[in-house]
Symmetry: C2
Subunit: 629 residues, 2 copies
């Protein structure tokens, strides 16, 4: 039997199988944890997984029909212990079936904002109408609102209008009005409910959806939720999802529904945690890259990947939560923040808002490291931006032993420059299963630092037991098989190094070209912000040694965390921030790297570790010189 | 068998039956025309009628099941030739089954307005995006709109957003944007469609729904439609419909759906006539009395008839046509004009707008004659208004031979003061079937003028063959049985006269009390406007002799026709008019007659023909003095 590749998401682990096996067995083989309380006998029904390509699987068994509804089966749910697989497939493990939970970056740097949310609740005590003054109920409310808040020309949600007369009488002329943007009445409740007003800020990442539940009266985060983006089952990267969406309007709709269901799950989690009813959520703010923004809103994405890579809709987009199927107050509103360009999204606007580089006098470099990295260079005078197709190497994809940042992932690597002995740290201090992004950056940077590889990424001829040959090709052992949970050596191969070089070159090229555009050299940069859920775990020294970011003093570097979500939260709390977001989305200049004449040349230079011209990496140069002295 | 009463609507004719008979036979007996091409054999299926109280009817036959769908049967449809009836019932004859069409007042006096509709279409020729300038499609549209019209901060209908990228490319970067109130994008079409922009103005009357299809580019009426209000099947007057709506939310919903279906029918008629697609209608303006407004919008009406008679919702109300189920562009908007009070509705605001009394220096009296009459006294300084429960006598109800203004109705009556011979005119010059409102006003006024009745409405002792006795009570014959289509004398009875006295007293009391409020006497009134679909057919001399309106010189009286609909049309064409409507709805003072201390006294005085104090009717006084001289 010809080999076939099975990939497990969200771990990002894959293996080549050569015979028809159950999915549960394959998962064990590759070190991915799936719940299986009954030990694979089809009794507990816990090992639920989702596979899109159903035709690669064995028939649905009677046992599975007991544990899964026909709707679930229709949506690709199976039991891992009962299902065998025989061709290339992607297996998605929903959170309820997972043994280990992925690490999520929830926190992000943010700026303090003056509390001025788009949602306002006002308690009114009306005068009862009389024969002498038979004032209409709606006018009664409106005139009191004008008296209390000075608001005029308000609009009503039609659904509310129908029940105005009953609502005012149930509340015995005491009621609470909820206003959107001081313009539209979106709720009417008997009594005083002003203390219960919540919003929800969401970052729809390509791989994760994270969200804050925020009390709009205090501005405090009162709950949060996070989840793998369920769209992963239909394509790991943006391009494959866009291609999937293009196949039919139904598929486009399917991806939209998945994103909405994902948001509903984190709303549920956060609300449960905080003792808040989803009906008390009156507004949601959404950030995401332009593709996630478009897929979430069901926008045609076809032209996003055709030159000139125009975002069909840049936004902002305001839509009723109910129209999208989001579980919140029936008249809640969704504000999807605006994007900058086809590949610099609203999440990047969030990065800018949260780091505040648009108001700084200092020259800033902002890098959001991810599959689609974004780079900004500038300050309050002018900001240029670009997108870098780094690819998913830093998410552990295309790396032989790569994996995402879940339990058992090697996240830190140190190599002794003399003995080449390796020290590593794993997430949750579990036995190693693979290497995640920060681990692979560390590993390659350390290998270069210690002279194990050259600046071209080739292995030097060294005497150490850790240099082994697999199928004739050299690999460097990070963890010996007996130390690992998978019973195999965890190594870094020549191809892995190449993947890392390409990924880091993509980011660095973005930095270099933007710096050139702004005529800014490394020494002119006053501040560097590294953002992204992932970015927080990178070792800054490794990042510089690898040449992922320019060589600036470490004290100038700030790890900013999930600034995209922080920006969404700021927009939830302040209408002024929204205006700024809209301004930024038009004001920040976008540089299309593809259209830059020296893009190719710069990219090739950037594949060198740390860079073709070592003079631009003085701290690395100094280290190497000292080492060789 | 005890007698039972069957009433036919919209004719308003009724008869007492004593044995179970087919509805078709009863209709023939009372002179109401129902189509019946097969002669009552159940073959043609044309005699479709609607009866609410199904339990008073014979079982549904197999023949009926052939001609009617189960849905129709569920909604009360039957075939008149196959259905027998055995208890008090209301039979509604839908327009498609009618032989004679009711006369509708479509025309109304109106004021010229500066064309500035709420809907605007703009044709844009966009620049194609390039790699150097990869402008997003939505921003491309918005910046061009700003360039062309100076509009900023526009909002998008979400349904449009999804297809922006496809729409701009289908149109090859040439497209037409439709804006609502210069604020919201409600349509996006490839190419230039600016010449196709329509609106629809509707007056939902208690008994009729009438509408204009209007070209928003020219302001011209290009089609119209009219229909009996289908709600009549569930209550002829406002109070019985409100009571029906209160019985359950489903019944409230049912009345709403009937109003919407009625509007859809006249939209269909008007569009068919004008070669316009309903999807080219972008806005509808709606007027109606407060109860019709509320039932159309599905608003709780319970409190309308409980003191202090507060209109739950005064309006204006803006709602998407689609949310109501109205057949127009999917993103069309409905603007329901504001009301003044519980019984002075948006239709009355339309009356004021169309007659322009709020801008006049002259002292005006405006009377909208109808089942619920409205009266206004004032000018640009100040206007007071009230509602008069005239009852349906002028619609022919509660009058022995009363009927609505359809073929065969006697609409003009002249009596020779010497011979007491009667001349009459019928609608369509058909053989008389009954007497409609203007006919009964003429008849009673003439009977008074000729001394047949006293100022108290009692028959004087006269020698004429036309004075007959029926069951011992005196009646005056207007048409002898051999002249009529029903083979019976058409007469005016003592009770008929009493009904007319009560109805005219209600209107006159409104006029008198408002005039007193404003300290205005008959000679101070410069202009009288008589509005209402019905009002146009009243003879002004008869109205004065009867004491329906104050005694002012005939040249000061203007019959204004359907000013309610004209006002709705003005609001469709001008945003300024809408602002005025809103202002008027709050500015016009409302007088609750019930709360007036001298209401009862004034009402009793007003039942006298023309009035208790003849000095207030100098022209009548002069006529009577000359006659007796």
């Amino acid at each position: 039997m010809k080999g076939f590749v099975v990939r497990f998401e969200p771990e990002g682990k894959k293996l080549t199988a050569h015979s028809e096996s159950t999915i549960l067995d394959l998962a064990k083989e590759v070190g991915v944890g799936i719940r299986s309380e009954c030990g694979g006998k089809g009794k507990c029904g816990k090992c639920r997984i989702i596979v899109e390509e159903q035709h690669n699987l064995s028939e649905v068994t009677e046992i599975e029909r007991k544990h899964l509804t026909p709707q679930e089966i229709g949506r690709g749910y199976r039991l891992a212990c009962m299902t065998t697989i025989r061709a290339n497939s992607l297996v998605f493990i929903p959170s309820e079936s997972r043994l280990s939970v992925r690490r999520m970056q929830i926190w992000g740097m943010e700026q303090p904002v003056k509390l001025d949310p788009n949602v306002r609740k006002v308690n009114l005590v009306l005068e009862k109408p009389t024969l002498q003054n038979p004032v209409a109920d709606d006018l009664n409310i409106l005139t009191h609102l004008e008296k209390v808040c000075g608001l005029q020309d308000l609009e009503w949600e039609y659904e509310l209008v129908k029940n105005i007369p009953d609502t005012v009488r149930v509340g015995n002329w005491n009621l609470t009005v909820t206003l959107l943007n001081d313009r539209r009445v979106i709720d009417l409740e008997p009594g005083d409910t002003t203390s219960r007003s919540f919003g929800f800020a969401v970052d729809i990442g390509t791989s994760k959806i994270v969200g804050y539940l925020v009390d709009l009266n205090s501005g405090e985060v009162v709950g949060f939720g996070s989840l793998e983006n369920p769209q992963i089952a239909f394509g790991e990267d943006i391009l494959s999802r866009i291609s999937y969406a293009e196949e039919s309007p139904e598929k486009r709709r399917r991806l939209q529904v998945l994103a909405v269901e994902g948001i509903n799950k984190i709303v549920q989690t956060a609300c449960g945690e905080a003792g808040v009813s989803p009906s008390e959520i009156y507004e949601l703010t959404i950030v995401g890259n332009t593709a996630m923004f478009s897929l979430f809103l069901g926008i045609q994405t076809k032209y996003l990947h055709l030159a000139p890579y125009v975002p069909g809709v840049k936004g902002p987009v305001v839509v009723k939560a109910q129209e999208l199927g989001i579980n919140a107050n029936p008249r809640a509103s969704v504000y999807a923040l605006p994007n900058i360009a086809g590949y610099v999204g609203a999440d990047a606007v969030g990065d800018v808002l949260a780091t505040n580089i648009h108001e700084m006098q200092e020259m800033c470099l902002l890098v959001d490291v991810g599959t689609n990295g974004e780079v900004f260079v500038g300050n309050r005078e002018d900001i240029v931006s670009c997108s870098c197709a780094a690819g998913p190497a830093f998410e552990g994809v295309h790396i032989q032993h790569g994996m995402k940042a879940v339990s058992g992932a090697i996240e830190r690597v140190k190599i002794d420059p003399k003995t080449f002995e390796v020290k590593y740290v794993t997430i949750d201090e579990a036995k190693p299963v693979g290497i995640c992004g920060s681990g692979i950056i560390d590993a390659v940077a350390e290998m270069f630092k210690c002279g194990i590889i050259s600046e071209r990424g080739k292995f030097n001829d060294l005497e150490t037991a850790r240099m082994i040959r697999v199928e004739g090709k050299p690999e460097f052992v990070i963890a010996w098989s007996e130390e690992t949970a998978i019973g195999k050596n965890i190594t870094v191969s020549l191809k892995d190094i190449e993947e890392v070089q390409l990924a880091k070159a993509a980011i660095h090229t973005g930095c270099a070209i933007l710096m050139e555009k702004k005529a800014v050299a490394e020494e002119d940069i006053d501040k560097v912000f590294i953002a992204g859920a992932f970015g927080n775990y990178i070792d800054p020294e490794s990042a510089k040694f690898l040449g992922l970011i320019p060589d600036v003093p470490t004290e100038k570097i700030t790890f900013a965390g999930n600034t995209a979500l922080a920006g969404a939260k700021m927009a939830l709390l302040s209408r002024e921030v929204r205006k700024t977001a809209q301004r930024l989305s038009r004001w920040i200049r976008y540089v299309e790297l593809m259209a830059e004449p020296n893009f190719q040349r710069e990219f090739v230079k950037s594949t060198v570790i740390p860079y073709r011209h070592l003079e631009r990496y003085p701290s690395v140069k100094k280290y190497l010189e000292e080492k060789h002295r």
